[in-house]
């Protein structure tokens, strides 16, 4: 039986294929090299989870900001000089509580509020997470190291439209009174996706 996929024995390597499309874009005057450098800067210096961490730390220490953040996330993050791409129409901030765990997934592709919480980690984009966390939320979180007692309710948010989500994790009790700067240092990307506590 011949191979039935459209990926054949003589398929060019993925690097060769990237080189080819980049060369085409270069030829057509799209200046891909310049953009690749800009993008590297964006991905490594602008779209970092430290953005979201600052948002979380401010929400923990400034009740008025937290109200504005929960009411309109997209507007509130601008107060910290943060922005979102045009096609991220809305930022919904989901507040975790001791008895409530919010978790974000994108089952159809892998959308995230990447300019705020950083580009998604590898596992977030994998078929396993996408297929399973909507249906087996408690089991999957446990496998990932977050073993929630039965008393904690779970809310899964499947980001299938143009709204983006971020989780506002529970502030660890031992950090009450810390400065905003110090608090921001403990906030992880995974806690803002909702698969880890702090």
């Amino acid at each position: 039986m011949p191979d039935h996929g459209n990926v054949q024995q003589n398929t060019a390597s993925v690097e060769q294929r990237v080189d080819a499309i980049e060369a085409v874009m270069q030829d057509r005057g799209m200046e891909p090299k310049v953009f690749i450098d800009q993008f590297k800067h964006l991905a490594e210096e602008d779209w970092v989870p430290q953005n979201g961490a600052r948002v979380v730390a401010k929400a923990w220490t400034d009740p008025e900001f937290k109200k504005r953040l929960l009411a309109n996330g997209r507007a509130a993050v601008t107060e910290l000089g943060l922005s979102m791409p045009a096609h991220h129409r809305h930022l919904v901030v989901l507040e975790n509580k001791p008895e409530l765990q919010n978790v974000i997934v994108c089952t159809l592709c892998s959308c995230t509020a990447f300019s705020i919480i950083g580009l998604p980690p590898d596992w977030y984009k994998d078929l396993e997470y996408r297929a399973r966390v909507v249906r087996q939320s408690r089991t999957v979180l446990k496998e990932m190291g977050l073993d929630l007692p039965p008393s904690v309710d779970i809310r899964v948010w499947d980001t299938t439209a143009n709204t983006r989500y971020m989780v506002l994790p529970v502030q660890p009790s031992h950090t009450i009174g810390w400065s905003e700067e110090k608090l921001a240092e403990i906030v992880t990307k995974d806690s803002m996706i909702g698969v880890a506590h702090l």
Binding site: A20, I21, R28, H87, R89, L108, D122, D126, R135, V156
Partner: protein, 205 residues
Amino acid sequence: MDGIHDIGGRQGFGRVRYTLKAQTFHEPWERRVNALYSLAVKLGIFNMDEYRHAIERMEPRHYLSASYYERSLTSLATLCVEKGIVSQEELERRAQGHYPLSMPSAPGRGNVSTRQKLAIGDKVTVRVEHIPGHVRAPGYVRGKTGVVIGISPAYPFPDAHAHGIHADDEPTYDVRFNAEELWPNSADAAQVHVGIFESYLEKVA
């Protein structure tokens, strides 16, 4: 389309390969691909809905076996071919080998004319529709009933926007479902919230 990409709730997958502080990129070419498709969107060569749909149109075996960034690459290359920027032959000549692209697109559709504005608290059912083109409602909510708990700003209707046909903007609603109603006796207890375009919903009396 009822494609292989629509895997929410599908069983048989193993454990999530979770690691602490997991990376986004593992190979230099992955960063380049992410930049190149973003550049194409920025230049107006295609929009994000066309980009997503071209990923969904990948041959199912290719979709499942490809890494995330190989899927991005395949969408970028497919759309560059479909938009007339380059031929598959030129790509294959330059890549010195076979260059797998996505399968052809079925026709899209416009906004649903009978859609209704909804309010928070409305009980809604997801229409039982099998759209051959792009659609952003995951299969697992089809025909299921939930409650509107949030309203998001209007955005071009993806079923049209992914196919280059006229798309009116319409709001999306955060609809809350019970996991145990989505998969009776076969799900962990949870509320599952899905962002759903107005055209996909019908208000329940």
